[in-house]
């Protein structure tokens, strides 16, 4: 029997809870060679900003124990080019499209959302208030509850589509941020973005990443991500999209048990670009084994 894997995030309906995380699948082209994107619940685009961004100079990435640091610096083609050259391909793919927006000012968030709201193919916005790798990339907002509330409020004013606020883990109480987003009308939050980290060459004494610090992702951060999801789930009544170190279906289930209504795959796409569809397989088998007919029955069923 095929269990019902569909989930809802606000008014957004997904055929399954598997989403591909922002910045880890580009605009879908390359990864589509490894799997049928139409099977995936949703694709989140690389953060788009109003103007194109060159991104940070190399070296941008470095491997760490069970993780990696990145400081891509929100390299992206900019709003105009995104609409012109990236959306056509994304239209062909029969997958729900979520557009991730990064900005250097509150006005830019609003402006981006306002413009992109017209693109019918875009079903939801994920507002990145938490990129640790550019000064104006959101982390300054991400650490400020009031700013997160304000951004949510203003973005809410220009779109009726689903709004997801992507939260930073680099704060003491992430639930406060989720609560601020909820209060100002966000439909969901996603957690977590990367943790701030660094790594140095002991011979040159230079940072291995040109940007000095980068964002830590991968299995190393999974326990932290799960704790953040659980914290939000226990305190705030808002759908959560779990992110952080998911490598396989077991990790994904763990996030759902901890409170996630859906989850995103990030770093794993680099290592196993077919992970998305493999995880759907895994969810089905697990549900069958556990006699779960609707995967929504799993959400936040932690026994504590």
């Amino acid at each position: 029997m095929i269990p019902d894997l569909s989930v809802e995030i606000g008014s957004l309906k997904l055929k399954n809870p598997v989403m591909l995380a922002s910045g880890t699948v580009g605009y879908g082209n390359e990864i589509s060679e490894f799997m049928d994107l139409s099977k995936i619940g949703a694709i989140v685009t690389k953060s788009v900003s109003l103007k194109p961004r060159k991104g940070n100079p190399p070296q941008r990435i470095v491997e760490t124990p069970a993780g990696m640091l990145n400081a891509i610096g929100l390299a992206n083609v900019g709003l105009e080019e995104f609409i012109k050259t990236k959306i056509p391909f994304l239209k062909e793919v029969n997958s729900t499209l979520i557009c991730n927006i990064a900005a250097g000012s509150i006005e830019e968030y609003v402006e981006c959302t306002r413009i992109l709201d017209k693109e019918e193919i875009i079903k939801a916005f994920e507002i990145n208030v938490s990129c640790p790798n550019v000064k104006e990339g959101g982390l300054i907002f991400g650490n400020d509850v009031k700013a997160v509330g304000r951004i949510t409020e203003l973005v809410r004013g220009v779109t009726n589509k689903t709004i997801i606020i992507k939260l930073s883990p680099n704060v003491a109480n992430i639930a406060d941020f989720a609560e601020a987003a909820r209060k100002e009308g966000a439909d969901a939050v996603s957690a977590i973005n990367t943790l701030v980290g660094t790594s140095f060459d002991i011979y040159t004494r230079k940072p291995k990443i040109k940007n000095i610090t980068g964002g830590l992702s991968g299995p190393a951060i999974k326990p932290v991500a799960l704790a953040k999801v659980l914290e939000i789930s226990r305190r705030v009544d808002i759908p959560i999209i779990g992110i952080g170190g998911i490598m396989n279906w077991k990790d994904a289930i763990e996030f759902m048990i901890c409170g996630a209504s859906a989850f995103q795959l990030g770093t794993v796409n680099f290592v196993n670009p077919a992970a998305g569809v493999e995880i759907i397989e895994g969810l089905i088998n697990y549900c069958n084994k556990m006699s779960i007919t609707n995967i929504t029955d799993l959400i936040a069923t932690y026994k504590i």
């Binding site: 690389k46 941008r60 990435i61 390299a75 796409n269 680099f270 290592v271 670009p273």
Partner: protein, 253 residues
């Protein structure tokens, strides 16, 4: 490009620290071009997390091989693979050498393990094109001649061949060559490539190089591997997708 699980045929030491990994894969063998690479999962577990990129070294029938130096944890694990093991790899990746364009003599210049792509590349040349290979290394045991002919050698310490670096060795040969009719193919560490670039620009020699840099995905989705464009300094190429082979004029090394 695709994900393949292929079988190891042999994994033998060419030098103490340099191995030749030979695998069976008719799919990759039939598609991969000289200068392209594969991204190899060196272990069955999630550690190390990322794949490791290696240039295609040779293709013979359905067999493909990689020549690699043991560098850190990942290549050490790779060196433990043995006949019959399965290896998980993604490929072919990147753009290879334009070895079919117009020139009369091909020159290959490598530093250390940079020689890895040359067996397949030289073998792929139309037999009628004469070529010469310059192999450089810090010392004798950094010289790997597997699958090569027509080579000259340089070592920094003079333990084998010319004493000096390989770009200097090549420079000595320039007067003997018709500069406008040669094409140089280089692969090696960045300092060597920088010296090569300077020399080739000076002498107006056409030159392509394969560059290395840290990679997370190897196929264009992470944006982790930028290399600055020589012309438009506000833009980057991606080494994994637009390279790893570039015309030396196009990039800032």
């Amino acid at each position: 490009m695709d994900i393949y699980k292929i079988i190891v045929v042999s994994n033998t030491a060419l030098q103490e620290n340099v191995f030749l990994l030979k695998c069976l894969s008719s799919e990759i063998a039939s598609k991969i071009l000289p200068g392209q690479f594969c991204n190899i999962k060196v272990s069955e577990s999630d550690f190390p997390l990322l794949r490791r990129p290696f240039s295609i070294c040779d293709v013979e029938g359905d067999y493909i091989s990689f020549m690699y130096e043991v560098h850190g944890e990942g290549t050490k694990l790779l060196s433990h693979k043995k006949e019959g093991d399965l290896i998980d790899l993604i490929g072919p990746l990147g753009k290879g050498f334009n070895y079919k364009s117009e020139y009369e003599t091909a020159i290959f210049i490598s530093g250390g393990i940079g020689v890895a792509p040359f067996p397949y590349l030289t073998r792929s040349l139309d037999g009628s094109i004469p070529y010469k290979i310059f192999l450089g290394g810090r010392t004798e045991n950094q010289i790997h001649t597997y699958g090569l002919h027509n080579y000259e050698i340089s070592t920094d310490d003079g333990s084998m061949g010319y004493k000096g670096n390989v770009v200097q060795l090549f420079e000595k040969h320039i007067p003997l060559l018709d500069k406008s009719k040669i094409k140089v193919f280089g692969c090696g560490p960045n300092p060597m490539l920088r010296a090569l670039k300077e020399l080739c620009l000076l002498h107006e020699i056409n030159c392509e190089v394969s560059v290395e840099c840290a990679m997370a995905c190897g196929f264009g989705i992470c944006q982790g591997c930028p290399i600055e464009k020589a012309e438009e300094s506000d833009k980057y190429y991606l080494v994994c997708k637009d390279g790893p082979v570039f015309n030396i004029k196009d990039v800032v090394i």
